[in-house]
Amino acid sequence: MALERLFRRRRAQGEARDIPELWVKCPKCDAQIYKKDLETNLHVCPKCEHHLRLSADKRIAMLADAGSFEQITGLKPTDPLGFVDTEPYPKRLERYQKEAGRPDAIVGGRCTIGGIESVLLVMDYAFAGGSMGSVVGEEITRGIELAAQENRAVVIVSVSGGARMQEAALSLMQMAKTTLALDRLWAQKLPYISILTDPTTGGVTASFAAIADVILAEPGALIGFAGPRVIKQTIRQDLPEGFQRSEFLLKHGMVDQVVDRRRLKETVARILKLLHPRTVNHAG
């Protein structure tokens, strides 16, 4: 590739300043990937197919039909416990908000997916590692309730290190709240697809993410209840190869399919069309 040669020559000349703009290194195979190639390939490494982390905004652009997304989220977090560790929670929140460019670790809205009226909720790893506190729980719950009211399907993309410690038991309660909300959806036979991406662990996995009608996982994603570090400390043994990865979960019967990101939208759209009550008479 001509550009790759150009890049090599520049680096050889000590002009490495173009690297952050033009090239990305694959964290798995170390290949230098031209950034535009990576974008068009939905952040999947063209060399080794490793799925790099995708921002929440790109997720939405990838899944929602073009121009259909209308944001519904925007609640702001508070500091209900006056939590202080090495720094006060409000200071952390300020930093997270700056880093992620949104008030908390979730963004969602109405949209169509393959023409099916849906509510799409996407967690954002850039905000505190996608941790779930009151705001994430409330937005998920409201999104599900809205879908139930407006006869929409629900698609949730999870990425989360777990529940947010700084809201302690209130974070824990979000697991119950979000799980309970799904009953409102199911009472009206509206489909819910849960998409698990790297990483999905802790309280998010052990609530709404694990009890969807259909659960899809991206290849190679870390998915589980306890984090691997905690498990290793507990059992004092090395963990088996591929442990808690998507393919491991597929093998153990916990997910319906491991889907390559480049086929994710068509897969989601197909399932929604097959399940959504409104499409029942449109077969063929």
Partner: protein
Amino acid sequence: MPLEFEKPIEELEAKIAELEGFATSSGVDLSGELQVLRERLAQLKSETFGNLSRWERVQLARAPGRPTTLDVIGGIMSEFVELYGDRTYGEDPAVVGGLARFEGTSVVVVGHQKGRDTKENIRRNFAMPHPEGYRKAMRMMDLADRFGRPFIAFIDTPGAYPGVSAEERGQAWVIAQSIQRMARLRVPAIAIILGEGGSGGALAIGVGNRVLILENAWYSVISPESCAAILWRDAKEAAKAAEALKLSAPDLLSLGIVDRIIPEPSGGAHRDPATTLSNIKQALQATLAELAGLGPEQLFEDRYRRFRGLGRYQV
């Protein structure tokens, strides 16, 4: 073995006992001295137990001799028939469940079970369930619904077990399912936190119409030690983490996470289990009476509303 902050009390109690013994055997009148010591003991107790830090409460919640689920079932219920197994994979001794009679009413019970000694603790995996335990709990919920019996859950776990086999068999999946199953009950559901309420592993059987907590029990999204290890990078800072997490019964009551605190005898449940059991019995009776007027759908809606309202945010 006394807890660290109990030591001065135990020492003084031993000294009083020794002096009493001496007075009896020697016939020497020590009533004046004994009176002074007893007053000092009463003062020491009220100073120690009246101002417990959150971290001290956590230690009381874990104290050996604190009533376990089976102690409570045995102490306040009758005709207990324990039911084993998950009908899928195995029997998990970290969770017990079955049928019992409480004040004339037949009920279905389930709870995390700690061991009463080291050997039993190992057998019961320190009350840290595998997926089988939660499937057993869900089976009990099915029974409660089918026969219209109140469902009583006792919570006392450091957390669901973080291990390879637990992950292989879908620990997160069964916790989510158990939360959902309990939410769907059409009978009165009451959860009582006896000791430790460790995160999702506790919540899995904590979706009650009412959630009660013993005065010194704790309930949080993470244990103080694990929280300290992550946020302070040192598990020894657990006392600070316990304060920050606001995991004590009064904190939880003010946040609406629990509905009622069951008082413990001075110094904690382990110092007087009989009084503790009688307090649990009274609270359970009162709570069942509160729910007695609600029909199946009302119970479901009541529980939904209870959990729907939890969370703090700004619009």
